[in-house]
Symmetry: C2
Subunit: 458 residues, 2 copies
């Protein structure tokens, strides 16, 4: 290494699995890394549903990125929202509080992930929030626990129709996130809250799990799909497949079944876990190199994860389209490590000539406490052994020793016991959003019956 | 007990120490209890500063009131903001989402506590939030961690004046809350964050602790005041006593010293821990019985804690003025238990003829990790032994086994290690408040230098 030469600049976009593991894989490299994140934390997205349902606190699934990388001297963490990449000028523009800043790079790793997609119906988002950020999870937490509070009030007032709509929950999308969310809503209503109210019986809450596809957990083996569906129904979750959501409003949701018949569910609380779209940065890159993004907004990459025509740019994780790989943490982690190894090779290390190869460690989803399903190669595991696997894998992957112990303990509280340690609703949510927004979400008749006025009536 | 007779109705206002312990003390009584709370949780207020500084999560200091009382069948928890008490009609009116509801009582325990007071300068509140609710603590958490993020940006841009104002913190009020807050800000900047930034050195953050009184911890023995002040200064906290805050604005704060000279501190983040005012319900009661509230808004009560002329109404905790008792958790707890024993006596139990007597278990405050001060009768304890005492007492009093274990572990992480598990800032805070509000909090010149525009300039 020549100490007088400028160190190569590596810019990493994103503080998720791809971005963080890329930075760590370059820990010993003689480079100058800027990791640009939209938030101050590294989010362990697969556990968001546990924040939304009151099991874990935000800090337990989202350690501060700066803290995780505090002792890695070759990296600077930058807070900013990347708005542009110029592949010719080799610059990235990030905006923080309306202040644009430009970063030059010698190597770029784009790991900006994916956002929730309402399939062109962004107007659904207000009524059926997604599950992609801590903000989403806290919003849903307030809505879920708030719904039971409102239902208790309605029932005390004898308005049982309103109470029923308030304790009806619809989860749209039956992938792992949707299944886990529906399972936890069942646990929450059947176990956690069962003694907490006097006028409603939370165990009678209705939980729907909807998907347009004909099966739940589409990416898993059929035997596991069948078992999961049966387990969901045993928990009290109503599963509707081949159900395409055509409208979502404040009071409920409409879907078309396989026979094109339209059905309506009156439900105040809807959760959207149906689709994702890659970060718009994929299109920014595609436009500059004359490529098209795919239906999920992902950009096709070379076998070595580089952007076609630009071997200084790697695109990894949910933004990249390659060999039909799924948008899961393991793909992002392995791809970012591969990209880092290519960058290290370019600095004079051992050349990397093999293309990226994904090693599938398996796939898993929890159903409820003590029950999960897992698929490792041809091996299928269900029930408690699968749940044990899930627990171990998640404990290992949660970044940092510190959150692991408290997380394990919160899990003991929730799984062995019945409690939810993190049920807090802020006053802002109670007196702000619940008052101003959720009352308008009430079925009109119910709202009137309750003596509550909706903005749209006089 | 006559099963055909209507059970006496006990209404309890407040879910803090007074309200919750009153409800629990009546667990075996043949009464019908309504506990009316403004929030859904029982807040362990003395630990709010730990939520504000990223040590604990909201759930750890604020379990759901319904969960704490789930198995006590004679109590209904009601979410509502009490707006009126009619001592003649014996009714309480509570409003939830603009819907007023009226509760009749045979016995009433008023334990609505106290709110922050800016001593008539409510316009200070936006710039110097108080420390009385989870919302306050989360707001301060966002401001504190956000300030370091903004300072890093400013320093990277060479604007060291802005970075300095951004890393200056002023705590107003040197009672236990102010001392604990200032101590934790010192720990946070000197230990937790020391490796996290590249352009600022968080250890150089300035922390001021101001009080109009001539001493810190006014309610403690002078020897402890002197030791605490020395310990604070050793931690890097600048203590200014006899300092009366006369103005607070977005960019800083002005105070008058003992010689009536005015000084200004440029500081983006201010915390108000200076004063409390009893719930306005104290005045509602006072007006009806022809009494005056005291300077802190508290209502004088009889020696048995009843409202003069109304032996069916007990006023306990921070709202009651009796024998100069301080507004601490122990007073509220002991008073609520006494009130409950009087109610039980009226149901045919052993008559309670003695007036309320406070048993002072002592007084304590933490200074930093491993250091505290405590005063038990004539015994004074300082340093590590006092901290051990503090730890034990707080673990015992945190309601419910469940939060105790995770709390202890979060403490291990923060005190033995250096981390803060709960540093999360929501995107709403980053892109909402920080962008819209905090930029306007920047010194005008600094904002302009940073390329940020303030709303009040063109």
């Amino acid at each position: 290494m020549n100490p007088t030469a400028r160190r190569p600049r590596v810019v990493i976009i994103g503080s998720g699995f791809g971005g963080l593991f890329a930075a760590r894989a370059l820990a010993k490299a003689d480079v100058d890394i800027r990791l640009i994140g939209r938030t101050t934390t590294h989010l362990f997205q697969p556990l968001l549903y546990q924040v939304a349902t009151g099991i874990l606190s935000p800090g337990e699934i989202a350690p501060a990125t700066r803290e995780v990388l505090a002792h890695q001297d070759n990296v600077q963490v930058e807070l900013g929202d990347v708005t542009n990449i110029d592949v010719e000028a080799k610059t990235v523009t990030a905006t923080t509080l309306d202040m644009p800043r430009t970063f030059s790079y010698d190597h770029l790793i784009v790991a900006a992930g994916a956002n929730q997609s309402w399939f062109g119906n962004d107007q659904f988002a207000d009524f059926a929030p997604g599950m992609k950020s801590i903000d989403d999870a806290l919003e849903l937490r307030g809505r879920i626990f708030g719904a039971f509070e409102l239902a208790e009030l309605a029932a005390a007032d004898g308005r049982h129709d309103a109470a029923e709509a308030l304790t009806t929950f619809v989860v749209v999308g039956a992938g792992p996130t949707g299944v886990e969310m529906a399972g936890q809503l069942a646990e929450l209503s059947r176990r956690t809250l069962k003694h907490d109210f006097r006028h409603i019986d939370p165990r009678r809450a209705k939980i729907y799990l909807l998907d347009a596809a004909p099966a739940i957990l589409g990416s898993f083996d059929e035997s596991l799909q069948v078992k999961t569906r049966a387990a969901m129904e045993k928990l009290g979750v109503t599963v509707r497949l081949g159900a395409k959501v055509v409208d979502v409003d404040a009071r409920g949701l409409e879907y078309q079944d396989a026979d094109s018949e339209t059905h309506r569910i009156e439900a105040l609380t809807k959760v959207w876990a149906a689709g994702v779209a890659a970060s718009p940065l994929a299109r920014v890159l595609a436009d500059q190199v004359g490529l098209e993004v795919d239906r999920a907004g992902r950009i096709p990459v070379n076998a070595d994860l580089t952007l076609p025509g630009h071997d200084d740019i790697f695109v990894v994780g949910d933004m990249a389209s390659l060999d039909g790989l799924p948008g899961v943490a393991q793909v992002a982690i392995q791809q970012s490590r591969y990209a880092a190894s290519k960058i290290k090779a370019s600095l004079g290390g051992k050349p990397v000539t093999e293309p990226f190869a994904y090693f599938d460690k398996g796939n898993m989803a929890t159903i409820s406490r003590f029950r999960a399903i897992a698929e490792i190669g041809k091996v299928k595991v269900t029930g408690f052994p699968a749940w044990g696997l899930w627990l171990g894998v998640h404990l290992v992957y949660i970044i940092g020793f510190k959150s692991r112990i408290t997380t394990l303990l919160h899990w003991m509280v929730s799984f062995l016991g019945r409690g939810r340690a993190e049920r807090n609703i802020t006053e802002q949510q109670i007196f702000g959003r619940l008052a101003m927004h959720r009352v308008n979400d009430l079925p009109q008749r119910a709202a009137r019956n309750l003596g509550w006025h909706r903005d749209d009536e006089t």
